[in-house]
Symmetry: C2
């Protein structure tokens, strides 16, 4: 974790490393939840969906531990300026991870409902590709955070536009399916939610990357998330989180 330059390791640094190890553990669980939730949907695997739903508890517990750790470090070490900023970033990032975990859980929750409905051609594999992209972004965002790599973080921020584009394409596809056959409406509403929540996962990953840029450069990336609308206005379904 440390670079090769000589470096006096303070108590604060040690505390921080312990917290960052927990962040990485939490991130690993969240990445797994994203992938498994998407797989449970595509393969109509209710058992796997149940596993994802149960694993959210461990994610929530890690968030609480991280917040407690961070509060303890603030109370004990009274960090100032840059160090305080680092500790606060840890709390924000664990909050983002917790929200992404919730979205994965909710995706898994819908698997149980969707298995009872007609399959919508191609939607599940498109959703899985989107989830896979978000998971890769998350992996890079956490690497960027740990390495304090602003360039990699900036790259993650730009890739969020791809996720937005995938979402907009799916939204239009669902509209078409619903208009073609009203029997598709209920399934499409559920699938649409899943797509929307996956797009929101991407926003939370972006927020993690923005924290990294902020830590490294001291400034939040301005206009960092260009929302892509490929539909000429009326169907830009991405929502601002800023």
């Amino acid at each position: 974790m440390h670079d090769s330059k000589e470096h006096i390791v303070s108590s604060f640094d040690r505390d921080l490393e312990a917290i960052q190890a927990r962040i990485l553990k939490m991130g690993g669980l969240v990445e797994e939840a994203i992938l498994e939730a998407a797989r449970s949907l595509e393969e109509r695997d209710e058992e796997l969906a149940e596993k994802v739903r149960k694993s959210d508890r461990a994610i929530d517990e890690l968030e609480e531990m991280i917040n407690e750790d961070a509060a303890r470090v603030i109370a004990l070490r009274a960090p100032t300026a840059v160090d305080l900023r680092v500790v606060l970033s840890v709390m924000k990032i664990s909050g983002n991870l917790e929200r992404i975990g919730d979205y994965a859980k909710n995706m898994a929750k819908r698997t149980g409902v969707l298995v009872q409905m007609p399959a919508i051609n191609g939607a599940h594999s498109a959703l899985r590709r989107m989830a896979r992209e978000v998971q890769l972004m998350l992996k890079d965002a956490l690497d960027a955070y740990i390495q304090r790599d602003a360039a990699l973080a900036q790259d993650v921020i730009h890739r969020d536009a791809d996720v937005d584009q995938m979402y907009n394409a799916l939204f239009r596809e669902f509209l078409t399916f619903m208009m073609e056959d009203p029997r598709n409406i209920t399934a499409c509403m559920h699938l649409h939610f899943i797509a929307k929540n996956t797009e929101r996962m991407g926003d939370h990953v972006t927020a993690i990357a923005e924290q990294t840029v902020y830590l490294v450069t001291g400034e939040m990336p301005e206009e960092s998330r260009p929302k892509v609308d490929t539909t000429g206005g009326a169907f830009d379904e991405t929502e601002d989180e800023g």
Copy 2:
């Protein structure tokens, strides 16, 4: 803000009062945004919608100020135990308010799209009632926070079930409209998003109330948000945020 008992006002208390005043200001702006966003939708008032969208900037700025204030207090006063908990709660609450503000902004954003589509009978006034309920809950949640009134906070938590119920009813109504006439599908998709986001605002208000219960009692209310499903399972569209 202080009760009549004699009370030594520390520097920490003064700092805290200044931050809480900002929380109240931010809360006032968010309440206004909720009501005006719903009104812009019902009255198809694009100018009001534009105002709501622009006012979100002030809300975001207040969140940043509150976070900076809180960090400064932690750094300067090194509060421990209960005091630290209070400062951290301020950061969480401003985060919840910011998210509610985003939802209001996104609601207003859809007004511009929906004015170009056929009106869906009764939906707008139902949405406005729902928004009004959330705004009242927010008002009480902030009062409960400032007064450290756990009973009022608990009341807010219970009222979230009403919002969930309103949402579930609307979801079923939109499904019916879409099945009756495919020309309603696009408008209903937008309205459905608005309903969903209003339901989520309720979840963030509940989180504020939960913080208050935690501050007063030292424990998070367990199973505090009973999700109401009046649809027998398949159409419980509320999502877990826990």
